[in-house]
């Protein structure tokens, strides 16, 4: 009987994948699948054999394991548990707004371009580096758009074809996200509760894997962009740039270091991420003279930036708070998946890396590899059929989530924005991003094999 239910669940999983690929609303999609995955396994527990129930106590409902408790854990505790993650997202978005408002971000871009000058490949490479560095600290679609409207016209005015300009920028943003503390907290919550495994910090992760991942993603992106560029030849275009080059004043030189302060504090001292945002954010506002308008005006500005930042993240919030319900419900569905898929799921770290590298493309269109898509279900299945260490699983899923989904996929909100802004066709973007995502993924899984496998028992949840 468990096989029948397993197959039914599998069908709904494919249904979800199809729904995501069609570009429908993710929050509603995950809410609906959560309900289906609640109903099927729980009704299923009435009809399956007793041996199956004994092997999977989670489905063995009774006085010690009441149905109401199970439902509460899915629909109440799970999203609540993600509250801590959400708070980081909001402060990160505020910090991003501060860097825009103070002109620090745009000054960094302008200074970079003035270093590279009228040499497309050099300037593009430099812009990729600073973009990645900036996005280790900035979060959300607002900052990506705000930086994009500066960087993209600059690259195009240097004769870089618009598809390559966009590709190079978006993949560099994704490279930076490998070290972004907000994203780290967000994805970490998929694997363990916030207070579990206190040693699994951004600092530990960065030293072991994160720095190298960022560097590999950035270098591959830049090399690929260079290759595409040399193949397509730079062009001289007569174009009218109507958006107007902002002639904003430069932020003081010594403030340009502020974007990386929260990340550095977090990595070096395991200092609070939000604390870092507050310190660096207010330092930026004071040092750039944004707090000179008197107490009242300053309060209003800080408040407005927070408002704008939260609005930036708003489209994500509903989805982020539905996803944990799904993550939780996956643990009720996984015994059935195990029954059906158990024999064919990879059980060793080497096989997992190979399978994920080969299937990296399935992280596109919110497919079964990306955590911000139906990969959350894959994780549920994978972690229940075999035992893997948390850092290993983190790395395995971070690659398709960050490089494939966030950097390369047109369903990522800001990539979709970029396509509309530059008028690049989706297929032209994917033509550049798909080969690149495979190269980056393969290299990162090799890296994972070297640094994240065979960890001690303490790293197992």
């Amino acid at each position: 009987m468990e096989y029948v239910i397993g197959v039914l669940l599998l069908l709904t999983f494919f249904g979800l994948a199809y729904y995501c690929i069609k570009g429908y609303n993710l929050m509603i999609g995950f809410l609906v699948i959560t309900i289906i995955w609640t109903v099927l396994p729980m009704l299923g527990s009435l009809v399956v054999g007793s041996a199956f129930l004994e092997a999977n106590p989670i489905l063995n409902f009774g006085p010690d394991n009441t149905l109401v408790n199970a439902l509460n854990s899915i629909y109440q505790s799970a999203p609540e548990g993600w509250g801590t993650t959400l708070v980081n997202v909001c402060w990160g978005a505020w910090f991003g707004r501060v860097l825009m408002e103070t002109g620090i971000a745009s000054t960094i871009i302008r200074k970079t371009v003035e270093l590279g000058g009228d040499r497309p490949i050099v300037t593009m490479a430099l812009l990729n580096i600073v973009t990645a560095v900036i996005f280790t600290a900035m979060t959300g679609a607002g900052p990506v758009i705000a930086i994009g409207v500066i960087v993209l016209p600059i690259m195009m005015s240097l004769g870089i074809p618009k598809a390559i300009a966009m590709f190079s920028f978006m993949e560099s943003v994704a490279a930076g996200i490998y070290l972004n503390p907000v994203n780290f907290a967000q994805y970490r919550a998929f694997f363990i509760a916030t207070d579990e495994m206190p040693d699994f910090t951004l600092g530990w992760y960065a030293a072991k894997w994160g720095y190298a991942a960022l560097a590999i993603a950035l270098v591959v992106t830049t090399i690929m962009a260079g290759v595409f560029l040399s193949r397509s030849k730079t062009s001289h275009a007569w174009a009218a740039q109507t958006a107007g080059a902002q002639q904003a004043k430069d932020a003081p030189m010594y403030t340009l270091i502020l974007p990386i302060v929260p990340v550095v504090l977090n990595i070096a001292f395991n200092f609070s991420v939000i604390g870092g945002f507050v310190i660096a954010g207010f330092a930026a506002l004071f040092l750039c003279g944004k707090m000179k308008g008197g107490f009242k005006a300053s309060c209003q500005l800080v408040n407005k930036l927070y408002y704008d930042g939260v609005v930036d993240t708003a489209p994500l919030v509903g989805f982020l708070l539905t996803l944990p319900m799904f993550n939780k419900v996956a643990s009720y569905a996984s015994p059935y998946f195990n029954a059906v898929l158990g024999p064919i799921m990879p059980k060793t770290e080497l096989v997992v890396c190979i399978v994920f590298a080969v299937l990296a493309g399935l992280g596109l269109f919110r497919g079964p590899m990306t955590l911000v898509g139906c990969g959350a279900a894959t994780l549920g299945v994978l972690s229940n059929v075999a035992s893997f260490s948390v850092p290993f699983l983190y790395a395995v899923f971070a690659i398709p989530t960050i490089t494939v989904n966030i950097g390369s996929c047109i369903t990522q909100s800001w990539v979709a924005w970029g396509l509309a802004y530059t008028k690049v066709e989706s297929k032209d973007y994917l033509k550049l991003s798909i080969p690149t995502l495979y190269i980056i993924s393969v290299l990162l899984y090799v890296l994972t094999m070297f640094t994240m496998t065979g960890l001690d028992q303490v790293w197992y949840a």
Partner: protein, 267 residues
């Protein structure tokens, strides 16, 4: 009305809510501008001098802030001279100043693609090494509608053939490529920052554009800067964007936009 048709308006919002596409992200919104007749904008821009257009060209260059206004003016004049010189040289060498014939004799492949574009950056024409020129036809077609707006023809004159002008501009980039060892627009460099013993020198992108405009003006013999086309052609895509661009150019030139209320189109 069938039952299906009757319930449709009630079901649609629900279906949209469940299965509607994600709303796309929008970029920063621009402040609204007051409308302005294109004829008047052309008239105003006609009066700008070479240095004003140089300032505009530099404002679009990534290295703009590396130069003083005096240096910009000097480079503008030298680039224009370069454009004129090569226009005469090419016309002499190939025995014609007609851009279409020049393109043929230079072995150019000219294509006329359609291209979707946003009002934020309107692309008119493009040169790709070694010998491809693309003239984007929707810009040219939209210009025909703008041309019949009151007062425009009087300013732009019968000499203007937009296709020829765009082609002439792009031909200069080919010339630039051919003479890159010696031509001013490629040999003039600016020193950028580098750690002490090293050097970091870059060409200045907008010099090629300034020279290309002067090259095109000389060949087509129009009595104004081809930079006017920036505002003129953008107008076909977005009137607001054209007004914004016009106001920006006037501002860079240190002039106040004129009052549209007193405008009477010349004929």
């Amino acid at each position: 009305m069938s039952f299906k048709e009757k319930v449709k308006p009630y079901l649609e919002p629900i279906a949209d809510g469940l299965f509607g596409k994600q709303r796309g992200m929008r970029g920063p919104q621009l402040a609204p501008v007051a409308p302005r007749p294109i004829g008047l904008m052309m008239e105003d821009l006609l009066r700008l001098d070479d240095e004003a257009w140089g300032t505009y060209a530099f404002s679009r260059d990534v290295l703009n802030r590396k130069f003083t206004p005096e240096k910009r003016a000097e480079l503008t004049h030298r680039a224009m001279e370069c454009g004129r010189e090569y226009a005469q040289k090419m016309a002499g060498q190939y025995g014609t100043s007609n851009p279409t014939e020049l393109a043929k004799k230079m072995g150019m492949q000219v294509e006329y693609p359609e291209m979707p574009k946003s009002a934020a950056r309107v692309l008119f024409a493009e040169f790709k090494a070694p010998n491809h020129i693309y003239l984007y036809m929707d810009a040219v077609r939209k210009a025909r509608t703008t041309m019949i707006e009151p007062g425009v023809k009087a300013v732009l004159t019968d000499k203007l053939d937009i296709g020829q002008l765009l082609l002439a501009h792009e031909l200069f980039h080919y010339v630039e490529e051919t003479y890159k060892k010696e031509i001013f627009t490629r040999t003039e460099k600016v020193e950028l920052w580098a750690p002490k013993p090293l050097h970091n020198r870059s060409t200045i992108g907008c010099l090629g554009e300034i020279a290309a405009m002067e090259f095109a003006r000389t060949l087509t013999d129009i009595p104004y800067s081809p930079y006017l086309m920036d505002v003129f052609l953008v107008y076909g895509y977005s009137k607001d964007a054209a007004v914004r661009l016009y106001e920006e150019i006037m501002g860079l030139a240190g002039l106040r936009p004129s009052n549209p209320e007193n405008y009477s189109p010349a004929t």
